[in-house]
Amino acid sequence: MHSNPSLSTRLWATALWVAVGFFVLNLLALIGSVVVSSFGTRWLGTWLPAGFTTRWYAAAWQEFQLDDVLLVTFQVAFSVVILSGLLGVPAAYAMARREFPGKRALMLLFLLPLLVPPITYGIPMATVLYQTGLGGTMAGVILANLVPTVPFVILVMIPFVEQIDPRIEDAARVFGAGTFRLFVHVLTPLLLPGVLAALLLVLVRTIAMFELTFLTAGPTSQTLVVALYYSVFAAGVRAVQAVDAMAVIYMLATLVWLVIALRFVSPTQIVSRAKQQNAH
């Protein structure tokens, strides 16, 4: 309703924008202070550092062995992306196209890992992984991260599959395509935009996933976010600026993929999927 707003309406609107502005300003300042600090020389008791330098990045790279950590991070992230795509997309297709006994129970099974926070199921899962000898290894980290990402891919892909007219598939079958060839020649091209969007979001989520990786990773299988946690936790051992430099590298590693992902999906979509799942 934007018709002849009264004074109180306008005051209310202004107050809200001030509140939102305050929130965004603090958020950007918070990120900004990390970035400024990572380029600063000495910063004590002033608005800005005494001078600017890029040496902290070299220092952080050396001290935290970031080349190793980044390598691990991307190995983990891309393995999770590929595996959750291979597992999730066919499952989403079956869930979207077939009615079968136990489908509702299966749907609940796929929903639960998204509804229960990682720290709750992460501890028993880590226990099991350590008992099987996978705890602390990269394989263990990858497996742990599959728990939220496979259901995520399934739930994002179901509506994508449903919007494809099943008659297209029937036509392909009439012309003699089996299930495998159907996937390769007909469905993959049609589903590609959805798959791409879902997998990019999986990538972002995996890079940013702290709890599960933290609970299952060993010294050689830490991802960037866990390394960042440990260095913040052990504050004082290393220069603050080096930690900030690592934080900036982490930010870049995440945001690049987010920016790419946002070209394919609208921001509200990322969250509102969760809403649709719960509406049932």
């Binding site: 309703m1 309406t9 609107a13 924008w17 509140a19 929130f23 965004v24 603090n26 958020l27 300042a29 918070l30 202070s33 990390v34 004590l44 608005w47 066919p90 297709y93 079956a94 869930m95 077939r98 009615e99 079968f100 099974l109 796929f110 509804l115 926070p117 990682p118 720290i119 199921y121 501890i123 028993p124 899962m125 880590a126 226990t127 099991v128 497996l143 728990v147 496979v150 399934i154 702290f210 709890e211 933290f214 609970l215 976010v225 960042l228 913040v232 900030d244 934080a247 982490y250 995440t254 945001l255 987010l258 946002l262 921001p267 509200t268 990322i270 969250v271 509102s272 719960n278 509406a279």
Partner: protein, 297 residues
Amino acid sequence: MSATAGPAPTLRLRLAARGLDTVTLLVLPAALVILALFLYPFLYGLWLSFRPKDGSLLGNYGRFFSDPFLYDTIWTTMRLAVPVTVLNLLLALPVAFRVRLMRRQRLLTTILILPITLGTVLVAEGMLFYFGAQGWFSRTVMTLGLSSGPVKLTNSYTGVFLSLLITGFPFTFLLTLSYVTGIDSSLEQAAATLGAGPRSRFRHIFLPLLLPGLAITFCLSFVQAYSVFPSAVLVGEPARITRVISIAAYQAAFEEYDYSMASAIAMIMGFTQLAVVVAVLASRQLAYRGPAGGGKG
């Protein structure tokens, strides 16, 4: 239909008639992975929690609920999660009502996605500096003359509260926005032509239609806040005021190596948050739960 009495349908055909064919089998790998990595550990954890070191069935639970150092963590966590979630919802609702009228929502929503993407660890790291005694926030407050000495918001209840607000608000807001924009704007127009002012329109039209969605938003936001971990350690006071239940579980598992106790705490954590969720969703049954459209359209 066949002229010759055909053989009985094969097993494959009978299964297909019930919806079980090769396509259905495609769910199996994913289902097995979730069963093995999620459900099995969960059930194993449940079983393990009843096998404490002292051999008694309920030893872990007895210990948890008799030791204030442990059972207080529930209260500590609730004291953080409930107010943060309520505040987030109260802030998100009016903002969503304004934003729904905007044409260019994308920029704002993209900015708000940032904290979700960056995650709690980075936000905590930024907060340590920004809200610290020498940070920009403290300096601004002093420059404006709002405080005589430095303001330090970290390493306290406030620090964790703020970090949950920053990482939780965007999520709460985007969910609320999607519910608010889901309500057909012609309903509001109809109410206006029937004589309802802004307040009445909110009370009689929006609120009843939004309640179910707000209940779900509350639950999802609450569950996130309840499992707070990194920020409670980094910007809180993890030994005392912000010793939340996830810290207790972590310490049991990775500092005392008592996996049985850790599982018990994880189960208690899961069931307490579930209790809140069930209570909220049960009250949702009282509200209208249908499509929020204005009719056929």
